[in-house]
Symmetry: C2
Subunit: 343 residues, 2 copies
DNA sequence: TATTCGAATGTAACCGATTACATTTTTTGA
DNA sequence: TCAAAAAATGTAATCGGTTACATTCGAATA
């Protein structure tokens, strides 16, 4: 059985021999660490280029105990949402000579197993976790045992010396309710995204507090549980419109459910926004092209990824003792379009 | 500066010492390679569990010249589309004890540099490339120089001993035209996705050949270039409706552009499908929830990813000499909804 | 020109696993 | 019971780099 690299594996020894220096010198040139006479450096670089030599990552990793790789743990759902974030992360990391190693699983036990394997196997230098279903209370404490930098996205783990990046879901949701309220709506329903999802829960909290501040008709229960999919938004809306009195506005915890809600309104022969205002959250690319165009909250996913990568790179450069515990909250902007009846 | 692993790095020597055997025996237990007396095996496994030992990936990789990692090269665009594929790939690979290393860049030179670094640096055992803009003619020959398994998605590189996975865009597009034709349409326009995109081009070919077979009013040029975004579909439709005679149906090369087209029709006060039929391609999750629900071609992205992973794992087990050149074509299914006026 | 000293370079141990080969232990059979 | 064969285990070289320490070189100074 032939080797993976076949006969093309070039080692530092090949370079050393051809440049008539020791491997130590080649290594020094590679890492421009100590002083190397410029004539020697040029000669070595010439050979490196000639042989198309690239140091073996495993050998470097073994010695340095660094892999230039960041692990990414993401839930196995909602591809679009996570893909944008990952792109943001990857863009910034690869510009800084780092790679990402991805894993995803919904089963939390499996998740922990994977993380453990990554870290203890020395595969990664740092860990970026997006686990909206994890919080400090449900036993997700494993990462804290490690000493590698950790960045958490959309979950409140509260691990010391880690960086947490959150969206300001709460305020954005609250303001959205206030906006609907200002338009005269009193019976504003909410389609939840899932009890155990951090973002969904924060949006729900914002909705609830927003409602408290509004002059409401009466004590209403206008919250229905969805699961972030179009079809759940559709079902939830059908469900909501059976209640008496019926809501005059629906706030869906994400755009996909808002799309389902619009479709349900249509099935019920209700005009949006005249009979029923509908707003979402996320500002997915098609939101502007819905009928009616969807009022929503813009979530800068790539920027979120960029911030995560930035925090990771910073922590990677800082030794454990000097790392601080940080929480970055991204303010969110409303996008008022036609579906709320504002224009 | 403390080590990445801090004091928690457990080595095979620690295990050997505690189990009172040599490192060779521990290694044999780990790889259940040769025979080990079961009493010894149990004792070693016990210690491994006790110490939570996981072999250092770099050390294993250095020795074995295998990383259990597959490189993924994807274009830096259309997150949703690629995310679904990546999920499909990842799901299957991680079930088989492999990880993925992702990279993406639009600049082809940078792309080649990254691939080269991955392969020559021994970071990956195999390469899955999705480069719709690459084809055998535009110089994308680098990968052929390597001996690791290669799987290409949506591009025709024709590298020997590699596996290529393609969607049957051509036939699906042709059949879509035939479907529209059967509904009585004679002036069917096409919104292209990009000249250099493989999928877009195949869909275009299918459209053209479908048109040839249809009884057309006259020699029409009803093709406009888009770029797979909603806004380009919007613009393209505005453009198309200025032509005389105006098209009665629009076939967009993907759903996003079809969404833009529907919105444009609306802006022009045209009813869909009564005044203008509009169909797409991809079957994104919101397609069923558009108004009108979008007729399109379903593209099984996760399955595509799964097939790519499967092919990769198979090739990984086969040595170079025994690998065959394979081309897998995935047949595509139409989803007839309301936007084509069929119901 | 000889001496000194810092800069440049080389030597070899090491990172943590695997594995060919050597050695020890156990089993088998006469 | 003991020699021979088979099985289990150990020893040490190795993978391809990095780096502490040793050595050599060259320039500056006397």
């Amino acid at each position: 059985m032939s080797s993976t690299y076949g006969d093309q594996m070039t080692t530092i020894r090949d370079v050393a021999k051809q440049a008539k220096v020791s491997t130590a010198t080649v290594s020094r040139v590679l890492n421009n660490s100590e002083k190397v006479r410029s004539a020697t450096r040029d000669r070595v670089n010439e050979v490196i280029r000639e042989l198309n030599f690239i140091p073996n990552a495993a050998a470097v990793g073994l010695q340095r105990k660094k892999t230039k790789t960041v692990g990414l743990i993401f839930p196995d759902a909602s591809a679009y949402y996570f893909a944008e974030i990952i792109q943001g992360i990857n863009r910034h990391l690869s510009q800084n000579d780092h790679q990402i190693l991805i894993s995803s699983a919904h089963d939390e036990a499996e998740e922990i197993k994977i993380i453990n394997g990554f870290v203890r196997g020395g595969r990664i230098d740092g860990l970026i976790m997006m686990m909206p279903s994890a919080n400090g209370n449900n036993g997700f404490r494993i990462p804290l045992a490690y000493k590698i930098p950790e960045v958490f996205i959309s979950c409140e783990i509260n691990a010391p010396r880690s960086t947490t990046i959150l969206l300001d879901n709460y305020n954005a949701a609250k303001e959205m309710v206030e906006h609907l309220s200002k338009l005269g709506h009193k019976r504003i329903a909410f389609i939840h995204g899932g009890e155990h999802n951090y973002d969904a829960h924060e949006r729900y909290r914002g909705y609830m507090d927003g409602m408290k501040a509004c002059p409401a008709d009466e004590e209403l229960n206008l919250v229905v549980m969805g699961n972030f999919t179009e079809s759940s938004g559709f079902q939830a809306t059908l469900e909501l419109m059976k209640r008496k009195p019926t809501p005059t506005a629906i706030f869906a915890a994400n755009d996909a459910m808002a799309i389902g809600a619009i479709e349900a309104a249509r099935a019920l022969k209700l005009r949006v926004p005249a009979d029923l205002a509908i707003v979402g959250f996320d500002d997915i690319s098609s939101a502007a092209y819905m009928d009616p165009a969807l009022t929503t909250v813009h979530v800068p996913l790539r920027r979120l990824g960029h911030l995560a990568a930035e925090a990771m790179l910073k922590n990677l450069k800082t030794n454990l003792a000097d790392r601080t515990t940080e929480k970055i909250i991204i303010p969110l902007q409303h996008i008022i379009r036609r579906s709320c009846g504002s224009e």
